[in-house]
């Protein structure tokens, strides 16, 4: 199959086929127009990218940098503040034999692309690594511990910046929507979407998702064609999950109905404002121990920290 320019296609979606150069151009335009149309970086002076050394956040880091550079010279892209700074934020959970590989890659990538990188570790923030917590806390699954501590840290450090971009792609988002619908977790739905922080509140860092409209395969293809060399890794704690089933289901539907993922996500965005209005009035509580936003009097991260101390 050929691109309209006559070169061999590397990408096909519905009726269009694109060669390497035209795919790269198509992908970058898509991300840039998402950033521009949703005014992600308007008036921002400090922009963070939550980075892990995986393909999504690596692609995002590269493109946010490119966007900022182009926006300085091209009027039409605007409008972060003239000297907006960009930094990568990474979390070191302390997972033996896994995280070092991705962080080493991220360090090299940031150095090569002249992006400043801050790494926050569970060990220094909470006093224990994920491996240590998993070994001692039988009541919590690894992903529960990791998710709670990670959210707390990203929020804590992200709040110091005007905005934090995360690498969630179209597949991640569709899986989130479908899983919450299937489980009837309607209360979680308002937390999804292109711009998060259910409640606009000083306690929450402002988060945006520039890859929201990019299917996972497109993100991988871009990373591959650009030769980023992102290492293939699998978290040793990853287990077959509900998310895997949601992925299989959505992929099987969209192989018969191309464009289904885009439809799920844009349909969801259209009714998200109404969903959010229903929870907007509730002000978040603050954790009595660390001061972070919390559903109860103690946040999940502090609850886990206490359980860890008690298990000694």
């Amino acid at each position: 199959m050929k691109c309209s320019c006559g070169k061999k296609a590397v990408f096909q979606h519905k009726d269009s086929a694109l060669c390497k150069e035209h795919f790269i151009d198509y992908f970058e335009r898509k991300v840039f127009s998402t950033i521009k149309e949703h005014a992600f970086f308007d008036d921002a002076e400090s922009i963070g990218v939550a980075a892990s050394g995986g393909k999504d956040s690596t692609v995002l880091l590269y493109l946010v940098k490119k966007y900022l550079e182009q926006s300085q010279s091209q009027e039409k892209l605007a409008k972060p503040k003239k000297h907006a700074t960009l930094c990568a934020l990474a979390i070191d959970e302390g997972i033996e034999g896994y995280r070092k590989k991705t962080l080493d890659f991220l360090k090299a990538f940031c150095e090569q692309n002249e992006i400043s990188l801050s790494i926050y570790s569970f060990k220094s923030a909470f006093g224990f690594s994920l491996d240590e917590a998993v070994a001692r806390l039988q009541d919590y699954g690894p992903c529960t511990i990791c998710g709670a501590l990670r959210r707390s840290l990203i929020n804590r450090f992200g709040r110091k910046l005007d905005v934090v971009a995360t690498g969630h792609n179209l597949d991640d988002e569709c899986q989130g929507i479908i899983m919450n619908l299937f489980k009837s977790n309607t209360g979680f739905l308002p937390r999804l979407g292109i711009r998060t922080g259910v409640v606009s509140h000083a306690l929450f860092s402002k988060r945006v998702k520039p890859l929201f409209f990019c299917p996972e395969k497109e993100v991988f293809l871009y990373s591959f064609l650009k030769g980023f060399g992102v290492p293939f890794t699998e978290c040793p704690y990853a287990v077959s999950s509900y998310r895997d089933n949601a992925r299989r289901f959505i992929n099987s539907v969209s192989s018969q109905f191309p464009g289904a993922k885009e439809s799920i996500a844009s349909h969801f965005l259209s009714f998200l404002p109404a969903l959010r209005r229903s929870v907007e009035k509730k002000q978040p509580k603050q954790c009595s121990s660390c001061g972070e936003p919390s559903a109860g009097s103690l946040c999940k991260a502090c609850e886990i920290s206490l359980a860890f101390v008690a298990s000694r």
Partner: protein
């Protein structure tokens, strides 16, 4: 045909010639979850591959 599947971390020898989607069907892989490459050339589902080809199949899913 020699096929390297990244997720499994090893190379297999297969008797196959036909389309990329045929190969993925044979291996039980979903096209939206993998990228199929011959040398440095990215292949589409409709591309034809032959017995002499060396194919690499990458998982596009992060951490999975």
């Amino acid at each position: 045909m020699r096929v390297f599947i990244e997720k499994k971390g090893f190379e297999e020898e297969l008797q196959f010639s036909g389309s990329v989607s045929g190969l993925l069907g044979l291996l039980g892989l979903d096209s939206s979850e993998v990228l199929v490459v011959r040398g440095s050339e990215v292949l589409l589902d409709s591309d034809e591959i032959v017995q002499e080809d060396k194919i690499r199949i990458f998982s596009v899913i992060s951490g999975g």
